[in-house]
């Protein structure tokens, strides 16, 4: 399964991304209140999907490393940390571009925005810290740091639901959901980003072998 994903992820990414681009710009309807700028939503959610997977994998491999002390696990955790950090930044930037016309500001101290920024800072620190810990011969410390950093990920998801903010809750709870064409588009975009994640993981692992 993993081998299959690694071998064909790029092909599937291209297929899904082409379909996704078509659907985002031509198939998905224009949103009633926000207009065309709402189309950022699909990519914004795609980035969120990737960093959620990457940070979860980072957690799994950090725990694995602590248990079995195999440096390869620590390296896979680090690679996932890299991917996750990049996509957290993309989430923040795409969110800002979306917020400017809709909310009327690039940034505000909304709980979800703040916790996402902290998530980015935490994992950016992890990336630097990992190299330092590795050099000092104590890679276990960076794994412990990664486990602690992960606490913020569920907070990002929960904050918007339990605290007042400007960031919307679209799915579940009081959210109104999205129209069925929008849902189809979102699912295809999720597919594209899922394969993009596997492709990046594969590329990065190959890079280590050089």
């Amino acid at each position: 399964m993993i081998l299959f994903l690694r071998r064909y992820s790029f092909l599937f990414f291209i297929i899904f991304m082409t379909l996704s681009l078509y659907m985002v710009f031509l198939y998905a309807p224009k949103e009633k209140i926000m207009g065309d700028v709402q189309r950022i939503f699909y990519f914004h959610m795609g980035y969120v999907l990737v960093f959620t997977i990457a940070f979860t994998m980072n957690l799994i491999y950090s725990i694995k490393f602590l248990r079995h002390n195999n440096l390869a696990d620590s390296n896979i955790a680090y690679i996932n940390g890299e991917i996750g950090t990049v996509f957290t930044l993309l989430t923040l930037v795409s969110g800002m571009i979306w917020a400017k016309p809709v909310w009327g500001t690039w940034w505000t101290s909304d709980p979800q925005l703040t916790t996402t920024l902290i998530l980015f800072i935490l994992y950016f620190t992890y990336l630097v810290f990992h190299k330092l810990a590795l050099k000092s011969g104590v890679p276990r410390y960076s794994s412990i740091f990664a486990i602690i950093a992960f606490i913020d990920l569920p907070i990002v998801y929960i904050s918007v639901r339990i605290m007042r903010g400007i960031s919307p809750v679209v799915f579940g709870g009081e959210g109104g959901g999205i129209s069925s064409e929008m849902m189809d588009t979102l699912l295809v975009t999720f597919g594209a980003f899922l394969f993009l994640y596997f492709y990046l993981l594969d590329l990065r692992l190959k890079l280590d072998k050089i």
Binding site: M34, G35, T125, V138, Y141, I178
Partner: protein, 138 residues
Amino acid sequence: MSSAKKKIKILVIVLLFFFSFLIFKAVESSLVYYLTVSEALEVRAQSKIKRLRVSGIVEKGSIKKNMDGSITFNITDLEKSIEVEYKGEIPDIFKDEIEAVVEGELVGKTFFANKLFAKCPTKYEEDLASSEKVSLAK
């Protein structure tokens, strides 16, 4: 224990404290990102805090453009309402009956805002009349 290990340990502890502090600060300050109109009036009556961030629904037909380029409108939490005066950039989706967030000072029953944000809908609907443009009331 070697000194490198000791250093790393100290660094971990310092970083932990630093991030706990950051998270605590963020939670503390954004626990109430905004107040409702009723809460704002209450806070204003009970304390000397002037600068507030208030959210409410823009009352239908209340948006007026003034001569000096500012706009006035009423926001309500369906119990009480306040008049908001604002001059500056207006978000694209700002119109009647949306939820708005304003930052500024509440003096009496008038809120002098220097920031105006619009909350985006939590339901994304298809725009059936695509040609229709969002515009400010007269």
